[in-house]
Symmetry: C2
Subunit: 311 residues, 2 copies
C-alpha cells in the first residue's frame, strides 16, 4: 500500500466520517510524565474508528458492486460501521450476528439500517451464513481487519492526528485483529517525522506480541480479557505490515486496563471502551520509555454497555 | 450588574479557565426535534462551571485580601473550584467540609491545595466554622451561588456560547443555588438576540419554580433527588435577577433525569453529572416548545462517583 493509497482513502471517506478532535489533559500528562495527544475516535460516527475502514471499503466498490450490497459477520462495532456506511451509500448491508450478540448491539445495527441474520455462535456458522448471503445476493464480503481497504480507511485517523501534531515521537493503538495497528503504522511511516508505532495488547490475548516474536501468526489460547474488542487475531494482510512497520507491542494486565479506563473517564470526562484504554495503560506501564515524549494515542471507540461497567 | 461588569469578569478570568468546546449531536437533535448546542463545562478545570465563579471571586480581591486567603463551606464542586482558584492565585484556601463528605471529595480538595476543616454535618456548624476562620485568618468568605462576583464569573460560560452561536433562541441551565441561572440570564440579556433563559429543576427540589410563582424565596421540603448539586436554594442576590430575566423554570421527574443523563453518555460519549442532565431532560419533556429552535444547554459539570451510577 503506497502513500498515494492512503491519500486517496482519506479523500474518499472525507465527507462520510467525522474529523474527530484531538484532546489533551494536563492531569494525565502529569500522571504519565509524557505529553499525550488523544485522537478521539470514540466521537466518530457510530462511536468507533471502525467507521473509517468500513466507509473506505464501501466507497471503494464499483457502482455495480455497491448495488448488490455488502455482507459481514460481526457482533461488535464493525457490524454497526458497515451498516452505517452502507446506509450512507444507499445500499444494503447484510449482517450475520451470533445468537449470543447482546440485544443492544442488534438494536444498534438495525438502527443503522443493517439487515440481520442470526446464526449459532460458532465461527464456522458465521462464515457459512455470510457465504450463503454472498452467493444469494452477490454482496461483497467485508472483513473487519484483514482487508486492504479497511486498513487504508483506518490509517486516516493517524493521518489526521499527524496533520494536527506532525512531530509526534510515538503513536499507540490497541491491537486486536490488527487492522487499526497496521493502518496507523503505514500512516506514521509515510506521514510521521520518525514517528514510531506501538501496539498495546492485553497479556490475556497476546497473539500479536507472540506473532512478532515467532515471525508467524499465533493464536490466542483464551479470550479472557475485559478488552472485548481485542480477542480477535492478526490476518495475513495486516501481519506483514505490522512486522515491517510496528516498533513493538506492549502488553498490559487486566487491572491496568481498568485503571487506565477509569483515569480517562474521571479526568477527561469522556467515555471510552475497555479496549480503548489499553494503549494508555501501556504508556503508564512503560513510563521510562515515554518520559518527556510526544505521544499520540488513538482512542479507538466509546461503545460500552453502561449496565456492565468494571467500576 | 452591568454589561461592562460581565465583560470585565470575562477578561479577568480568561487566563485561568478553559474556553470549553460547544458540541452538537445529530442523534440528540433527532430525539429532541430541536437544534442543540452543548456548552461543555464538564471539560472545565476541576470539572465544572463553578471554576468560573470561584476564579472571578478570587481574582476580584485586592492584593491584601488575597494574601489573607479565602474560605468557604462546601462538600461539592465549589470547594474544589475555590481550592484550585486560590492555588492558581498562589493564596490559601480554607475549606470547611461536613464530616459526611465523601473521601473522594476531600481528596480532590486536598489535591488542589485546599486546607480542610472537618465539622459536624449541619449548616450551623459549617457556618460557625467558616466564620471562625474568617476571624482568625482574615480570610474572605466566598459563597457558591449568592455573590455578585460568582454570578458574574458564571455568566462567562453563556457569553462564550453566544460568541460561538449568537442566534440562539434559548439557553437552559440547571437551577440549584441559582448562581449559574442568574449569570446565564444576564449574559443572554446583554449578549443574546432575543435569547430566552430557562432553568431546569427537579420536581423533588422545585424551590426556584415555587419562588417564581410566589414572588419570594421558597424552601425545599426534601432533598430527595439524584441531582445532588441542585438541592440548594436561591439567595437574595440571585433571586431578583432570576425574577427579572428568566423566562421560566421547567420541572422534571427523577426518571427523566436519569434517562437524559444516559442519552448524553451513550450518544455523545461524554461524562456529565446527574444535575447536569436536568436541562436536557427539560427539553425532552417540553418538546413542542423547543421544536425547530436553536437551544443552548450549559452542561454544568462532569464530577460523578463512578462507583455509584444510576444505570
Amino acid at each position: 500500500m503506497t502513500k498515494q493509497d492512503l491519500i486517496d482513502a482519506k479523500e474518499r471517506i472525507g465527507a462520510h466520517v467525522h474529523r474527530t478532535p484531538v484532546l489533551t489533559s494536563k492531569q494525565l500528562d502529569e500522571v504519565s510524565t509524557a505529553q499525550l495527544f488523544f485522537k478521539c475516535e470514540n466521537f466518530q460516527r457510530m462511536g468507533a474508528f471502525k467507521m473509517r475502514g468500513a466507509a473506505n471499503a464501501v466507497f471503494s466498490l464499483t457502482e455495480a458492486e455497491q448495488q448488490r450490497g455488502v455482507v459481514t459477520h460481526s457482533s461488535g462495532n464493525f457490524a454497526q460501521a458497515v451498516s452505517l456506511s452502507a446506509k450512507t451509500a444507499g445500499i444494503p448491508a447484510y449482517i450475520v450476528m451470533p445468537e449470543t450478540a447482546p440485544l443492544v448491539k442488534q438494536t444498534a445495527v438495525k438502527g443503522y439500517g443493517g439487515q440481520i441474520t442470526i446464526c449459532p455462535a460458532t465461527l464456522k456458522d458465521r462464515e457459512s451464513n455470510a457465504e450463503a448471503i454472498q452467493k444469494e445476493k452477490g454482496a461483497t464480503f467485508l472483513h473487519p481487519s484483514n482487508q486492504e481497504e479497511v486498513i487504508l480507511g483506518n490509517a486516516t485517523a493517524a493521518m489526521e492526528l499527524l496533520e494536527d501534531h506532525p512531530d509526534l515521537d510515538y503513536i499507540l493503538t490497541p491491537v486486536g485483529g490488527g487492522g487499526l495497528l497496521a493502518g496507523t503504522a503505514l500512516a506514521a511511516h509515510y506521514f510521521g517525522q520518525g514517528c514510531k508505532t506501538i501496539g498495546g495488547e492485553p497479556f490475556e490475548v497476546d497473539d500479536a506480541y507472540r506473532s512478532l516474536q515467532s515471525g508467524k501468526i499465533e493464536k490466542n489460547a483464551s479470550a479472557n480479557t475485559i478488552a472485548d474488542g481485542l480477542r480477535t487475531e492478526l490476518g495475513d494482510i495486516n501481519f506483514p505490515i505490522i512486522k515491517e512497520y510496528v516498533d513493538q507491542i506492549i502488553r498490559v494486565e487486566e487491572d491496568e486496563i481498568v485503571q487506565a479506563m477509569r483515569l480517562i473517564w474521571e479526568r477527561m470526562k469522556i467515555i471510552i471502551e475497555p479496549s480503548c484504554a489499553v494503549p494508555f495503560a501501556a504508556v503508564l506501564r512503560e513510563k521510562e520509555l515515554f518520559k518527556g515524549k510526544r505521544v499520540g494515542i488513538i482512542l479507538s471507540g466509546g461503545n460500552v454497555d453502561l449496565g456492565k461497567l468494571p467500576f
